[in-house]
């Protein structure tokens, strides 16, 4: 026994079963390892975003030009305020969660229930905010034009402020009706028509001599390139599509992958928040009916707490990657 030094007194128990080498119960341990694998999944997504961004580093959209909305403040450019608010809501719901865990350690059922309830409310507000953010992102604000070569052109005035298509596009008597299956015989489907045709945008651009085109290319000053009037007209003559808002194929903000990553990563995170809220609701009712009181342990609250904090943790990174950097 000289060679194998074991801790005193534990020798008996070590091989007897029922011991916890990591000092955590089975459920808690597995929650930790689930979190590890989920963290690696999210890192994979975020690293893929970084990969695509480095690949198109010169043409990537500038985040603070994309997310500029705040509720009840129309037309005011408020970059980041809303998403900062969302971050606060999620951090605060993390605080109420950890307070619930803390109250659980002291077996205070009413406090656990109250804090769990607040956590659920915070989670719901966050998911709702994310839905609103998506709505704005999908709807778009200014509209843009895509060229035959796949690059995106946006419109600015002389001072470099963005101009919406609706503010200058001409109305030509060429209106085409959106085809639906009920109106056409040999017809399968077509995507929603944009509000203006390419010809209308081009005609409107011609009749507004103070408009210029802004390309996706980022200059040395870390701004988007604004072309001269002659260059603008030349580029616009190559236009092939009007782009309004965002979908998985193209978006008015710039690089096509930008919207894909935004939808996928914030969507996957939103799904985590949503399932977290559902799990929290289940545990909340278990607390109310006294399941853990009978069990004399609120460890289950601690386990869902771990998951909930993890969701918050991921958001901290998503916030940085999508909105700050």
């Amino acid at each position: 026994m000289e060679a194998t030094v074991t801790t005193a007194n534990s020798e008996e128990k070590t091989w007897g079963g029922g011991n916890e080498p990591m000092g955590a119960s089975y459920g808690k341990l597995m929650m930790w390892f689930f979190i590890v694998s989920d963290a690696l999944t999210f890192s994979g997504f975020l690293a893929a975003y970084g990969f695509s961004r480095f690949k198109f580093i010169e043409t990537w959209p500038l985040a603070d030009e994309v997310f500029t909305h705040f509720p009840f403040m129309h037309g005011v450019s408020a970059p980041m305020y809303y998403v900062a608010l969302m971050t606060f809501i999620l951090i605060f719901s993390s605080v109420t969660m950890v307070l619930a865990v803390d109250a659980g350690h002291q077996m205070k059922k009413d406090k656990v229930a109250l804090y769990m309830f607040l956590t659920i409310i915070g989670g719901l507000i966050f998911v709702g905010s994310q839905a609103w953010e998506w709505k704005n992102f999908i709807k778009g604000e200014y509209g843009a034009v895509e060229t035959k070569g796949g690059s995106l052109l946006q419109f600015v005035d002389k001072e470099g402020h963005r101009v919406a298509l609706a503010d200058f596009a001409a109305t030509l008597p060429e209106e085409r009706e959106q085809l639906t299956r009920s109106k056409a015989k040999w017809f399968m489907s077509e995507p929603t028509l944009p509000s203006y045709s390419v010809a209308e945008v081009q005609a409107g651009f011609k009749s507004h001599p103070d408009l210029l085109i802004r390309t996706e290319v980022v200059t040395k000053e870390k701004q988007k390139t604004v072309l001269s009037r002659e260059e603008s007209e030349l580029r616009l003559s190559q236009a092939s599509l009007v782009v309004e808002g965002a979908n998985l194929t193209r978006n008015e903000y710039g690089s096509k992958l930008f919207a894909d990553f935004f939808f996928f990563i914030t969507g996957f995170h939103g799904f985590h928040v949503f399932s977290g809220v559902i799990i929290n609701i289940i545990i909340f009712f278990n607390v109310l009916v006294g399941t853990y009181e009978k069990r004399k342990s609120y460890e289950m609250v601690e386990k869902v707490g771990l998951y909930w904090h993890f969701v918050d943790l991921v958001w901290v990174f998503v916030f940085t990657v999508f909105y700050l950097v």
Partner: protein, 116 residues
């Protein structure tokens, strides 16, 4: 199994304060974008972004250590959870970002235009 748990609400609120202050600093920097940080690059990323990532990891540390209370776990559990994640993320980031930068160069220097 149940170790004696003292209420640590004080620490929870302190950590909440830290996380809030850091978030406010991030948003403030993100809005004013000071030129001396934003215009200077280090390893193909500007200093402002380095600061953002540093602050993010600072926040992540407090969330994992205080809220998820990994500071109270045994060091075996702590290491089993934290070290693989850190190692694999750094490895993945190194590979993907290097590769992304390389492909950027391929597109930029090729004779075929891909986006015009």
């Amino acid at each position: 199994m149940s170790h004696e748990h003292v209420s640590n609400t004080g620490r929870i609120w302190k950590v909440f304060g830290i996380l809030s202050v850091v978030t406010i600093i991030e948003v403030y920097l993100g809005i004013i974008k000071p030129d001396f940080l934003f215009m200077n690059d280090f390893l193909s990323m500007n200093l402002l972004n380095w600061i953002f990532y540093a602050l993010t990891i600072f926040k992540a540390y407090y969330i994992v250590w205080a809220f998820m209370h990994i500071e109270g776990e045994k060091s075996t559990l702590r290491n089993a959870v934290v070290l693989p994640v850190i190692f694999l993320i750094l490895y993945l980031l190194f590979i993907l970002l290097t590769e992304g930068d390389y492909i950027y160069g391929v597109f930029k220097n090729s004779t075929i235009k891909w986006n015009f």
